[in-house]
């Protein structure tokens, strides 16, 4: 039996170039004659822009050009919003690439300088004099929605970008009949994605031919090519977008930004390649942020712990303008998930998308689902506290029983498959939950504050079907495409439309193809991220690269396999019906020695000297795969913390994750995704917070003040899994990119609250800075 690569934790094929420094990221490019752009950004959160004096900058050494909004008004159309959520009274405010009359957040671009080198470009920025007339600003979404708040856009009343509502079941009855109601006001603080690679763009434009090549740190080059044509006017067929090595994105490299379009504009004007690479400080101001919800939520239940309803109002900060996919995140990707893994029978949510004088908000790992999971899982723990039941028991009581082909929710989703109780049971037994509770009780008697926090979750990913995309206002499709091309020697090129950026699909996709057609993983080269060479695709986000792109690839590979069977049958002088694909060979049933390898078939297909009748030369297939439904990974997580009451420091002592993403193509890569995802969620609970001051300045504007998770503050993450295949996916796989993040924030939150519950502390805003925890303890102990 040939080794099956699917399910094998083989080493990643992208790594040799990455560990030797020979990979090429956008900022590593150096083109002949290349010059450098730098953006002048508003230091004001809200101001009218008066005169801009660029003459000194123009005269500075090395400067080729300085452009302001007046210069780009013709050449750069406003930034598009591409997720126009329906029935939401959506108001897309005009978002110019370079501000002309008004700046609306610290970081809004007011001018661009192009110079021979970066140092000169930054020198020239210092020489531009802009007259600003400051206006009142507002940064908190709930405050911005109030009457009398500063108005950002003349045509958007009350700063309300949209009002979206979802409901299912009889919520009013659920609350009228409730035996227990618990309520909480939750702040999902604003986060900064912090992909380690800041964004960058290189634009090369041939003024004679009109051909543009744009290298960019994007998660979706095909979408960028399309939207680039809208903004810069370079026709799609003239533009080639390349996402070279991309150093993480976590959602922040989904949207299109003014920066890359301004870079294209400069390249067009000057006829020289232009590079723009943001600094980390600039990244903090200009690359999209995540979360920023104020949530008021209440849960109805019976005294025995049965959850009967959930209703909530959410103010979602959108920033100063709507980023590319922003409206869909606090709505579709959020509200539809509220029935959670409990199948809550009645839910109602009102979401107000609110413009504020802040950096635009976009998808950030989990995008909407962490905020939904947090609400539900937090309220489950509150319910447990209220009725004196263990949080694990409340969950057991409410989890949907195992199902393998569809569970409908009151918000109109159909979960594909799930076995939530088994995941929870496995978690509790692995962690020895009972023993932990005993330990906790003992520790409490000696004045130690240990807490256990659970979260059970289901999420939707594999963003998919296109007809659903249309119905929910996404201005694109959500299928994926792949081409599998077998060369004469049996080596394989795979071209995919989606564009991974660090998750390892060059390896996992090779594993898929290798098994499907009978080659080694090293025989398969996966080509992605170049719109000139790859087929159309919609990009990597929503844990869809493997779930949708992988399905497309499996389908294309199966077409190749089918054709290979036909050719092999011809070469073996057998009937096609008698052929089988076993152990990576195309053989005649019952006669395993009568077999052809893929290389044998590929050689003949490519030289085509002896082909079956009516079979074309070549061995290649392409597919456009449109999934029939989303996929719904799920799992159960546990965090154990200890709080130092003297300082408020939280020590995360243990973390256990059980996730079910269906069959695992490469378990080592799956585990790595869980590690990274969990730690990003822990970061929200414990450290990360984008803080604006009263005047709209981002005061955590660098890595000096914005605390990312560091190695020394983290425990070993214990990773386990269950395997429940998706019934509708060709490989059964679901997706794992975001699961860890979706589950972990609230697990840690619940753990800290559990630790402090004897003191009567009920809520602390995230992140749990020592001061916040200490203050909560002080207040609670004073009250006693």
């Amino acid at each position: 039996m040939a080794t099956r690569l699917f399910g094998s934790g083989i080493r990643r094929r992208e790594d040799p170039r990455l560990i030797t420094g020979s990979a090429t990221y956008t900022d590593d490019l150096a083109l002949p004659g290349m010059v450098h752009a730098a953006m002048l950004r508003s230091p004001h959160a809200h101001a009218t822009v008066g005169a801009i004096n660029i003459s000194r900058a123009q005269a500075a050494p090395g400067v080729l050009a300085v452009y302001t909004g007046k210069d780009t008004r013709e050449g750069l159309q406003p930034m598009p919003c591409a997720w126009l959520v329906p029935d939401a009274d959506l108001k897309v405010a005009t978002y110019p690439c370079i501000a002309t009359d008004t700046v609306r957040y610290v970081g809004d671009i007011v001018a661009v300088v192009v110079a021979e080198d970066c140092y000169q470009a930054y020198d020239a920025l210092d020489l531009i004099d802009v007259e600003y007339d400051a206006l009142p600003s507002v940064t908190n979404p709930a405050e911005a929605a109030r009457a009398g708040a500063p108005q950002l856009h003349a045509d958007v009343d009350k700063n309300q970008a949209f009002h979206w509502a979802v409901s299912g079941g009889d919520v009013d009855a659920a609350f009228k009949d409730a035996e227990v109601v618990v309520k909480e006001r939750i702040v999902q603080q604003r986060l900064i994605p912090n992909a380690m690679e800041p964004r960058a763009a290189v634009a090369q434009y041939n003024q004679a031919s009109g051909d543009l090549t744009l290298w960019n740190t994007t998660q979706n080059p095909h979408i960028l090519r399309f939207l680039n044509s809208v903004v810069t006017g370079v026709p799609e067929d003239r533009a080639r977008v390349i996402a070279p090595e991309v150093g993480g994105g976590f959602g922040s490299k989904i949207p299109v930004y003014p920066g890359e379009f301004i870079t294209v504009f400069c390249a067009k004007q000057l006829g020289r390649p232009v590079k723009w690479n943001e600094t980390r400080s600039e990244n903090y101001q200009a690359t999209t942020h995540g979360r920023d919800h104020v949530q008021e939520v209440e849960l109805a239940a019976k005294k025995d712990g049965t959850i009967t309803g959930l209703r909530c109002t959410v103010w979602a900060g959108m920033g100063a303008y709507l980023s590319t996919a922003a409206p869909g995140i606090p709505t579709i990707l959020h509200g539809l998930m509220l029935p959670a893994c409990y199948g809550i029978p009645a839910v109602k949510e009102d979401v107000y998308g609110v413009y504020t004088n802040t950096t635009p908000v976009e998808a950030y790992r989990g995008a909407g689902r962490p905020e939904a999971t947090f609400m539900v899982e937090r309220m489950v723990d509150r319910l447990a506290g209220e009725i004196g039941m263990d949080p694990a028991d409340v969950r057991k009581k409410n989890l949907i029983a195992a199902f393998d082909d569809g569970h409908d929710t009151v918000t109109g989703l159909t979960y594909d498959s799930g076995d939530y109780p088994t995941a929870l049971e496995k978690l509790l037994s692995h962690a020895d939950y009972t023993a932990l509770r005993t330990e906790q009780a003992t520790a409490r008697t000696s004045g130690r504050h240990i807490g256990l926090g659970l979260s059970t979750y289901v999420e939707m990913c594999g963003l998919g079907p296109s007809q659903v995309a249309g119905a929910i206002g996404f201005q694109g499709g959500l299928w994926e495409s792949a081409i599998v091309r077998v060369h004469p020697t049996g080596k394989v090129h795979v071209f995919i439309g989606t564009s991974p950026h660090g998750q390892g699909e060059e390896t996992t996709f090779a594993q898929i193809v290798a098994d499907e057609i009978g080659v080694g993983a090293d025989d398969v080269k996966v080509i992605h991220g170049d719109t000139d060479t790859t087929p159309m695709g919609w990009g990597t986000y929503g844990s869809r690269t493997t779930a949708v792109g992988g399905a497309a690839l499996a389908k294309a590979a199966r077409k190749v396999r089918d054709k290979a069977k036909v050719i092999a049958a011809h070469l073996l002088e057998a009937a096609v019906e008698d052929m089988e694909f076993v152990d990576g060979k195309y053989s005649v049933k019952g006669s395993p020695d009568k077999a052809k390898s893929l290389a044998d078939v590929a050689l003949m297909a490519n030289v085509a000297w002896n082909m079956p009748a009516d079979v074309e030369a070549g061995l290649e297939a392409s597919t456009f795969y449109d999934p029939p439904n989303f996929t719904f990974p799920f799992g159960a997580h546990l965090a154990v913390v200890e709080v130092d009451p003297a300082t408020g420091q939280v020590d995360l002592k243990r973390y256990v994750a059980i996730d079910d993403c269906g069959p695992q193509i490469n378990p080592v890569i799956v585990e790595g995704q869980v590690h990274g995802g969990v730690v990003q969620g822990i970061g929200q609970a414990l450290w990360e917070h984008a803080i604006y001051d009263d005047s709209g300045q981002l005061v955590t504007g660098s890595l000096l003040d914005y605390a990312l998770p560091r190695a020394a503050r983290l425990p070993e993450i214990e990773v386990l899994s269950t395997v429940t295949p998706s019934p509708h996916h060709p490989l059964g796989v679901k997706g794992i990119g975001e699961a860890g993040t979706i589950a972990s924030t609230v697990a840690v939150y619940n753990a800290v609250m559990d630790a402090l519950s004897p003191l009567g502390v009920e809520a602390i805003d995230m992140p749990f800075t020592p001061e916040r925890v200490w203050r909560a303890i002080q207040q609670a102990t004073k009250g006693h």
Binding site: T279, R713, R775
Partner: protein
């Protein structure tokens, strides 16, 4: 980020550096650069000239002579942290040097650069105050020595004159006492939200005398004289240390620093906690 332009001069000796400083008004000294270069990159510092003293050989190194521990200004933090002499004679300094920034920062950042910059959240100033260190300075007006307590005047403000250079730090050997440094690092910058250095001389389990200095809390480090008095003559047990540490607030006045991570009130409340931790660790070494 990209620094603004400046002229660059490399000093061959301390005297040469002094001469260059007086010839180039506004020039800044560059040693390891770990305080200055971040400011240059952000263009928060735009000096007309830098004078690189990083290659002056006799400014580097650690030595002990007649019960004085001497650390050259150019000695990197990593060397201080790893030095057995420092561990023996001034353990708190080794503690603190080993907690500055991160390993790569400690490889480049220097003792002299650190104290001349005098960031209120820096680790060394409090330690040097607690250890009663003296700071050697050379300038146009000749050599002089300033005690650490008189050197740190305020936020990024020292007794160092425009044309003066820190040459070394000298500490009276502490073999008969125990010292330690307790730090509450900022989770992002690694700077000290609070850093407390304690030096304890003990007779058995009784504290003969103590020196305690607080960093991170005020624009400049301050000696916790109320704490020192309270612990002097007391048994070095948890109860008396806690009681003495509680006096830390009396030494702080009303200019406690606060920021979005930790307010002044919180820092004030944490001061006794870290004073107690530093005293406890120092006491353990003193016995």
């Amino acid at each position: 980020m990209y620094p603004a332009d400046f002229a660059y001069y490399r000093a061959s000796s301390v005297q040469d550096a002094g001469r260059l400083l007086s010839e180039h008004p506004g020039a800044k000294l560059l040693a390891g650069g770990h305080s200055l270069i971040p400011l240059l990159k952000l263009r928060l510092a735009v000096p007309p000239a830098l004078i690189d003293v990083g290659r002056i050989a006799d400014l580097s190194g650690i030595s002990v002579a007649s019960d004085r521990l001497r650390i050259g200004a150019l000695t990197p933090h990593a060397e201080v942290a790893a030095s057995s002499e420092v561990a023996t004679h001034a353990a708190a300094l080794a503690d603190a040097a080993g907690q500055i920034g991160d390993p790569a920062v400690r490889n480049r950042g220097t003792v002299g650069g650190n104290i001349a910059h005098a960031d209120p959240a820096s680790d060394l100033p409090a330690v040097l105050c607690a250890l009663d260190a003296s700071i050697g300075i050379v300038g146009a007006g000749g050599d002089r020595t300033v005690s650490a307590g008189e050197f740190f005047l305020g936020m990024m403000t020292t007794a160092l004159g425009e044309d003066e250079i820190v040459t070394h730090v000298e500490i009276h050997s502490g073999q008969e006492h125990g010292s330690a440094y307790a730090k509450f690092p900022h989770p992002a910058s690694r700077f000290a939200v609070i850093g407390v250095a304690a030096v304890v001389t003990a007779d058995g389990d009784t504290c003969r005398s103590a020196a305690v200095a607080l960093g991170g809390l005020l624009p400049a480090p301050v000696r916790a004289s109320h704490v020192e008095q309270a612990i002097g003559g007391q048994p070095l047990n948890e109860a008396s240390i806690t009681e003495a540490a509680a006096r830390a607030g009396d030494d702080l006045g009303d200019e406690i620093l606060g920021d979005v991570f930790a307010s002044a009130d919180y820092r004030q409340a944490m001061a006794p906690v870290y004073v107690a931790r530093a005293l406890t660790a120092a006491a353990a070494r003193a016995r």
